[in-house]
Amino acid sequence: MISASVSPKAGAAPARAIGLDRNLEAIHAKDRKRRNLMENLTSVRFLLPLLAVYIVIVLIPFLQSIVFSLTDYDGYDFANAKFVGIANYQAIFQDQTLLAGLGFTLLYTIATTVLITAIALPLAVTLNRKFFGRNFARSLFFFFSVPSMAVLGLVWQYIFSPLGTGAVNTVLGKLGISPVPWLSDPTLAKFCVIFIAVWAQVGWHATLYLAYLQAIPADLYEQASVDGATRGQQFVHITLPQMVPAMGVSIFMLLTGGLKVYDLPFTLTTGGPGNATYTVTQSIIVTGIGSGRYGVGSALGVMFFLCCVILVALQQIVTSLIEKRLS
């Protein structure tokens, strides 16, 4: 009886407890949601200034460019501009100079991306080891990237001067070698532009890799050493997979920077000799904006933007596939 009288009471207590638990859970869930919402709102507030800047200096001008590209806007008064449809886009593909510019821009982008990645990664590994003067070496490589490319172009113009009085040719002359036409031979001029770009940027990208390298747990290497792995094996099986996210970031920056290159070739060679080192951005400036043909310049810009988006999207897909495979 007692038990009979107790049992319903005893059965009601856990039920109430379950109900309370559910209530508490619901309250916690609400709290979590509120907290998440607050966190999201805080994040949004932090992102707002950046978003505003992005909209003002990237999105709006880009949308304006699309509009300009469909008109004969001459850069003075848009009210006088006439709608010309896709005529500006057609004009682009008839311009041989632009096609030459596209060729060198792609060569520059691919060459600098491959060379800088191939040099910066082992350089970062070397700079991560302990040796005398390590901090000085790290600073030295980083400082190459501090001066602007335009300044570097002007300075290297004298170093790579094709005259016998150029810095490199003076040294070669002392060794009995006749002057080399560094900037006056199309192939050598391309080599010079790419060489300087690699020289100037490799330290910066090595520093980026160095930051990621220092985040790799040391016990991974210790375990590998105990298991008898050589340095080469450690690099291939530990360092390289751990560096994939860093490579993704570095390659992304090299690709986007390479595609829009302008300052270095312009100050070093002005796009010459002939059109050997002419770039797409130079074409946008000279053929479009510099000539008061904002419509054509904008069409070039829009086309180029789409090419960049496709290339960068491909790079992101490849990087994420590699990351997935390695993880």
Partner: protein
């Protein structure tokens, strides 16, 4: 405490507003503020501005300029116009004058009294449909700078009259041990070709470049013979393809160092060469045939224009400023500070004696020619850059002069 903070805050706000208001005001101190946008640095213009303000104490000039060369100035001017920020008085490059007039931002100066002082060549360059829209007070010309000591080694004391004689002189210099008899900068290749075209154009009712611009002729038809003559420099071995990699400064440095015998130059280099302690002078640019009237690349300099949208006291101040710039005092200051050569009716400039020959041959006579002025307004700078790119390829031997001119025609089609 709170009210004190509010009071301080209000005071600061009022002070800031007042200072901002002073920035935009045209007569905060009872003076008319005149904005002036120029293509040269403030330190060079300041003595001119100071002298004007001294003479006109009720006007204050607000100067602005831009970084970069002429192309940079033109782009900034264009951006300012499209953004509604055009200055009251500005330098109007001849290449842009058509567009400035078309967009209604250059005031008609035809009937202004100070325009009577302006030389006819300069006036003609600033004229559109019979009206003068800018006041150009100076002119420039190219000339050959030559090292007298190096020329003496081959028995010469001046630049010969014809192109073939000039090439013979360069050969003689080479034989006399002068390693670099002649160099042109990569962005100035074929400069003297414009002189030849200028002379041939002077015999026709319409200039050769105007004919090309109007579609009556082509680069292939008109330019090939000139480019072939210029290419003799390479076939004769007196100039090498290394010029395709040489900037203006590098050629100038070679000349200033006494290693280069002859280079295309202008009045702007007089000071540099004097400072280098060279024994030098400026001479003619040889013509194709004996007896051809000497012509050289050159033109009237960019003129000063008044924003067509200003009125009242600002307009009066702008007119006073242009009146001062074209006065004897203003012109002397322009020559002394900007290094430009005045070309007006009311002032005879004191020319450095090293530059007397080109001044007499070209600027006094008005025998200067600039090919770009005949080309379609839209795309001039792109086409000019293309001429250098094509001549660089001729210098490298990768194309012939005929191919270069054909390529220029193709480029012109994409620009029209």
């Amino acid at each position: 405490m709170k009210s004190l903070k509010s009071l301080i805050g209000a005071g600061v706000a009022v002070a800031m507003i007042a200072s901002l208001a002073a920035c935009g005001s045209s007569s905060a101190s009872g003076k008319t503020e005149l904005s002036f946008f120029a293509n040269n640095t403030q330190d060079l213009y300041q003595p001119i501005i100071d002298a004007f303000e001294k003479k006109n104490p009720d006007i204050k000039i607000k100067f602005s300029t831009t970084n970069g060369a002429q192309a940079g100035y033109q782009q900034t001017l264009q951006t300012r116009i499209s953004g509604g920020q055009l200055a009251d008085v500005y330098v109007a490059p001849p290449e842009q004058l058509n567009d400035l007039v078309k967009n209604g931002v250059a005031k008609d100066l035809t009937d202004e009294s100070f325009m009577d002082r302006i030389g006819d060549t300069n006036k003609a360059q600033s004229t559109i449909d019979g009206k003068v829209y800018s006041m150009s007070v100076t002119a420039w010309t190219n000339a050959y700078a030559y090292n007298k000591d190096l020329l003496a080694k081959a028995g010469y004391d001046t630049i010969p009259e014809t192109w073939d004689e000039f090439i013979d002189m360069l050969k003689a210099l080479k034989d006399a041990g002068v390693d670099k008899p002649y160099l042109e900068p990569k962005a100035g290749l074929g400069a003297l070709v414009e002189g030849w075209i200028g002379y041939d154009s002077s015999k026709q009712s319409k200039s050769i470049d105007q004919q090309i611009g109007d579609g009556d002729s082509t680069f292939a038809k008109s330019y090939t013979k000139y480019y072939k003559e210029w290419a003799k420099l390479f076939s004769a071995g007196v100039m090498g393809s290394e010029v395709t990699g040489l900037a203006d400064d590098q050629v100038r440095s070679e000349f200033a160092a006494g290693r280069l015998a002859v280079m295309p130059s202008g009045y702007w280099d007089v000071k540099t060469f004097k400072d280098a302690g060279l024994n030098f002078a400026f001479g003619r640019m040889p013509m194709l045939h004996k007896g051809d009237t000497p012509f050289a690349p050159g033109s009237a300099d960019s003129g000063y224009a008044i924003n067509a949208k200003i009125s009242g006291k600002k307009l009066e101040a702008a007119e006073s400023f242009l009146d001062f710039l074209s006065s004897e005092e203003g012109l002397k200051l322009i020559q002394d500070n900007l290094g430009l050569i005045p070309a007006t009716k009311n002032y005879t400039p004191d020319i450095d004696k090293t530059f007397t020959e080109p001044y007499d041959l070209y600027l006094k006579t008005g025998n200067v020619y600039l090919n770009t002025l005949g080309w379609p307004t839209s795309g001039r700078s792109a086409l000019r850059a293309e001429t250098f790119a094509q001549l660089q390829q001729v210098a490298l031997g990768s194309i012939t002069p005929a191919q270069a001119t054909a390529n220029l025609d193709t480029k012109l089609k994409t620009l029209s």
